[in-house]
Subunit: 244 residues, 2 copies
């Protein structure tokens, strides 16, 4: 391979938005719940509102305001916040319904190019999530969508949330590599920027409808990332991975 990534020993992937379509999946899972409980809110708006609380919740951990907790707990708190905002009557909602809806984050469809792209990349590189999700969430999501990970790295391994350096550095460490031999694959410029600051190589994949048809962020590479592509299949092409 004649490219700047020939020395790469591990590809770590951002997952929500980069590998899977969280917005459609959360909307799909929320719709029957919202209808059942007479909550008059569009399921996609519900998904967007739930997701909007994601970074602020992570920030409470990053800042040290609260001790390390896994993502599923934060997502669950955020779910209850959003439901309360829309006037949900918690007395009529079973605990099992909330637990099940929270697990919607573990049942999200891969983008159409994801499984083929990952499968091809895996022929040449070890691959794994380098996500803010907890390990069990990534395990369940992989089995739901057929994501052929070799290992699960990311926030829980490091007990820190991206973009904190420790998340990238510890992920490289556990796969036995220095940072410059790891590449982050992500649809978010800020994630790649933080990874680069830690010495990782950077692969940007455009996901222009992650946030729906009106998406205004991350539509283009904002820095000179090592690779810029429109799909994981294109990343596999660029890295010279054989077709299936």
């Amino acid at each position: 391979m004649s490219n700047p990534l020939h020395h790469i020993g591990y590809l770590g992937f951002d997952v929500f938005g980069t590998v899977v379509d969280w917005r459609s999946g959360i909307a799909r899972a929320s719709q029957p719940f919202l209808e059942r409980h007479g909550l008059d809110v569009d399921p996609f708006r519900f998904a967007d509102e739930w997701r909007a609380l994601y970074q602020p919740a992570l920030q409470t951990v990053r800042s040290g305001e609260r001790p390390w907790v896994r993502l599923d707990l934060l997502q669950r708190e955020n779910l209850e916040t959003i439901l309360a905002r829309h006037g949900a009557d918690f007395a009529t909602i079973a605990e099992s319904e909330l637990a099940d809806l929270n697990c919607a984050w573990e049942r999200l469809d891969p983008w159409p190019d994801t499984v083929e792209g990952l499968t091809r990349l895996k022929t040449r590189f070890p691959i794994g999530p380098l996500s803010n999700s907890h390990i069990a969430g990534m395990l369940h999501l992989a089995r739901f969508g057929g994501l052929p990970w070799d290992v699960i790295t990311g926030a829980e391994i490091a007990r820190s949330y991206k973009p904190q350096p420790q998340t990238y550095l510890k992920s490289a460490d556990v796969v036995g590599l220095p940072p410059h031999r790891v590449a982050l694959v992500a649809a978010h410029n800020s994630d790649l920027q933080a990874a680069r600051a830690c010495g990782l190589r950077t692969i940007f994949v455009r996901r222009p409808i992650e946030h729906g048809p009106a998406q205004s962020t991350d539509l283009a590479a904002e820095h000179e990332w090592d690779i810029v592509a429109d799909s994981l299949i294109e990343v596999a092409d660029i890295l010279g991975c054989p077709t299936l």
Copy 2:
């Protein structure tokens, strides 16, 4: 499935001896090294001696005598101990040779039934190593032998070595399950005994030549384990996993 393991949500595997044949692999990798350096020791004996230092080295960490270190460092120290015992002249041995020989633990053949058994088990259960190896070692071994793990659990996740309870309990915790919904698959009665004491289910696989033709330990189940089998294929049969 009408068996006591129908509620199992994760199968964690002991690896050295249970999943792969470490003795043949270490002997194979050691032979050219020993010849090159004029060390007159049978490669299988060399493998046995190297392995014999494994538990004592782990014990120094378990006891708190030294802080947590990964298995590859302990194996490397043990390698140098054995070489010194056989009169190796370290002035003539390149660092890269030692590093490469130490990586022999990441290039061990699976037993003949392993890949088929794991592949079948994976259709019904998430699977992963629950080993004393470090994560990178398990990652490399999996790619060498085609072991289709979903996740890597074990000592490094827990920062403790089996049979310490934390190793089993933390492995269950990161896959999101209570101990009784995890089964340990192992060829060693003592490992299963410790796992059972933590509440895990237990699957014993006989590996009567792990230590060579004269093996005298772990030839039979010493307790009433939930499953006793002669191969991972038989485990898959007992658990009702479809054939490939």
